[in-house]
Symmetry: C2
Subunit: 477 residues, 2 copies
């Protein structure tokens, strides 16, 4: 039962710690919700009354409410005031990773016992959406929209806006060691869009196969196959993808690699294999398609520079704002050898498929103003803290469990005893925990040799993180 403000008022006891009033109030409210003292549906006092009760400025309370609404702890609706969010629903609707979501738990209420709808989301592939820098993005958007020339509102150039390509060239050179010139960059609506365009162009050039890694996203594989390409899988060992196998693949015109941080197994390609893949491309006239999906996030030392820096004429670099900022923006980019850049832009223009020009200009401004760097830095600290908490929690609850792939990125791999992955995933589903197994990423032709969980520790909002971590520890051996 939802209690009423009258009852709630009598129970109000919020311990305010620390000097920062708003943060303290938020902590106290979160704690009251977490402990169950504030039930779901409970209507909170108006910001005015609570401010008067606590001797705070009304704005401090209103801001705290607004942030808690944004975090999913509270809900606000015109006419019904601010209430404690229903806890039975997940705090964040569970987005599935593009292609590898676990079988969705059947909905309740059909009479048979079924796993709970997921409440905790540790699927990989999505950053913490609650951290999207709304105010800074809006500032960049406002400035971009105000300064945009009229022609920006027209159909536009399939390469993408020059302003954005210029800002990206500077950023990618600085942050990722990419040899980027604006005319070699093509903006796309996501990594998958870029891969589809490149697949079409390679197929049109007569390429038969594009090699892929043993583990990766079905979505990528499927796209290439739909473009008419074969996708032989390279072997995998404890040092990562066996790029030396490329030399033995007849008719292979390109290879898709997550060189800086193998997806999903983690780990950077070692230097000799980096050299091998580029040597293969040079010798064979092939291309390396470098999927640098989370290159910004490396914790323990300098980021591994992009493979593209080794040979910009043989490596196609693909980057995205989906992990560093938000997938909802649909902004990604390719840096291409000259001829490919022309052909990819033509393929893109043929279907008139661009990202919104105001968004491109806003992103250019976001990069130029330093807001992107600031955001990435802040998120790197936050994700690193979560990673450390994950490692510590696993060590405490399940000391046998090895955690790997943690030097970089937004996910880690927890090794499981042989043959236990499916059972662990089922147990997770019963606990309302959405999480993926490594075998969901295994290419069909690759024999199963690993059991493990892929834990997307960036995915939940801060308010859901501890709960998700607890649920995870509960299913470990």
């Amino acid at each position: 039962m939802a209690s009423d403000w009258a009852t709630f008022g009598a129970d109000l006891h919020l311990e305010l710690r620390g000097t920062r009033l708003r943060a303290g109030l938020m902590d106290a409210l979160r704690e009251a919700v977490r402990s169950g003292r504030l039930e779901a549906g409970t209507r909170l006092p108006s910001s005015r009354s609570l401010a008067a009760d606590l001797g705070m400025a009304r704005n401090t309370v209103a801001d705290a409410y607004a942030e808690l609404v944004a975090e999913g702890w509270l809900t606000a609706r015109q006419g019904s005031g601010t209430r404690v969010a229903r806890r039975t629903a997940p705090r964040t609707p569970v987005p599935s990773a593009p292609s590898s979501a676990p079988p969705s738990p059947p909905s309740a209420g059909t009479g048979r016992r079924r796993p709970a709808a997921p409440v905790h989301n540790l699927n990989s592939g999505t950053p913490d959406l609650a951290s999207f820098p709304r105010a800074d993005w809006l500032k960049a958007y406002r400035r971009a929209l105000t300064d945009a020339p009229n022609e920006a509102f027209g159909y536009g150039d399939p390469h993408g806006r020059t302003e954005l390509r210029t800002a990206l060239a500077e950023y990618l050179a600085r942050a990722r060691g990419v040899h980027a010139r604006p005319e070699r960059i093509v903006i796309c609506a996501g990594f998958v869009h870029g891969l589809m365009l490149i697949g079409q162009v390679l197929r049109a050039r007569g390429v038969r196969d594009v090699a892929v890694e043993s583990y990766g996203l079905d979505l990528h594989d499927g796209l290439l196959r739909r473009a008419g390409l074969g996708t032989p899988a390279l072997g995998f060992d404890e040092r990562g993808t066996r790029t030396e196998e490329l030399a033995g693949l007849e008719g292979c015109g390109a290879v898709l690699m997550t060189a800086a941080h193998q997806y999903p197994l983690g780990g950077a390609l070692p230097p000799d294999r980096r050299a091998a893949v580029v040597d293969w491309a040079r010798a064979s006239g092939g291309f390396v398609l470098e999927d640098d999906y989370d290159g910004e996030f490396r914790y323990d030392r300098q980021p591994v520079g992009a493979l593209q820096g080794l040979d910009p004429e043989r490596v196609v670099y693909l980057g995205t704002a989906s992990k560093s900022l938000a997938p909802g923006l649909r902004l990604a980019w390719m840096v291409l050898p000259r001829d490919l850049a022309v052909e990819v832009a033509e393929a893109k223009g043929a279907v008139d498929w661009s990202s919104s020009a105001p968004d491109q200009l806003a992103f250019a401004e976001f990069l130029r103003s330093g807001a992107y760097d600031r955001h990435v830095r802040a998120m790197r600290l936050r994700y690193r803290r979560r990673r450390d908490q994950l490692v510590a929690a696993v060590a405490a609850h399940s000391p046998e469990t090895r955690v790997s792939g943690i030097a970089a990125g937004l996910h880690a791999v927890l090794a499981l005893p042989p043959g236990t992955e499916q059972a662990t995933l089922r147990a997770a589903a019963w606990r309302g925990l959405a999480v993926q197994g490594v075998n969901q990423f295994r290419r069909p032709t690759v024999p199963p040799t690993l059991d493990g969980l892929v834990v997307g520790y960036a995915t939940p909002p801060d308010s859901g993180w501890q709960g998700a971590l607890g649920a995870l520890c509960g299913v470990l051996p």
Copy 2:
């Protein structure tokens, strides 16, 4: 030579007509630029000084300046004040229509005489980009970004945001007589994106051919052919597209129609042919793909309702913000029969190709708040005025020339004497006028029977309209 404010001040004579001060000031400034009294590069007095001189509020002057900057009459740059824009450069770079632009004039400076680079742009297919409602759009965007739930920043549903589909369902029912329910709507990144998805789905269903009209965009035709579909062309007579021919086309599973306003010839499909196309779809199990690209703009009577209203199970409705608002936003929508909606959303999801979620939410807010209705109303008045000026100018300069297709839309067709279209286009190119001939839109299998110009009267900004009209009249017989 740019004059200085000191000299300019002495010449200042602005006749303010009417009571609305800002509009009057803008008219007076435009007139001073048009007549040459204010030369290109001339620095205008500061808004403060001019306001003092004219006894106006400073904001009134500042607003008028800002609008004239947005329209391309003036330029404003930090530190160099507000100046009259250079007239030698085109006010708006000349965008080419997606697929049917005239051969681009070679660039100057190679020593041979060549046509001038186009200064006047009457290509069809683009609205007046200077009229994009920046302030209202920004307001909607700000509100949308502030109110967006966190999950909006995630990968999202391939159908598009519910908020937008709900707002569109309401709008399309009210404004276009479309039977729309949110679950039948799929948001896409432009008409072409939608057509590509439908083409793929129809091909996967085993459809062999999609019939097209005798005149239309190559781009659309080409997309369907690349999806593996044949594109037989229906005949055309003085009453429009001969939809009765559909019954004789074996293996034809759909027809692409611009029923409300044939593109580019103008004219609405008459009622008996509207009925015929829907009857054909019902009898054959086929689909009508209704390209309602400019349904908002009808001048002389109520808009022709969408064909989709006749049978929502057999007509796929495709609409776009590209003409009513701006192509640069990349926002369009489809209203589909139930089964097709599922399949189209799946095809879209398979390549993870969505419009930016903040943009979708902003457009939903733009619709809900009434800003879209206001903008369309204002543009309808403005385009209608231009259309009337076009008709009057042609009547004055070339009374033999018949103007057709003028009841609706953003373009008109000027009939030319048989065999003169190519020569007229060449003459236009020499005068720096970009304009298209009807035969650039003729399907390859359709015999040439018409000569004419397709005049996109919405394309130039206000500052370029009179010049473009003059150039056009100069090439008419």
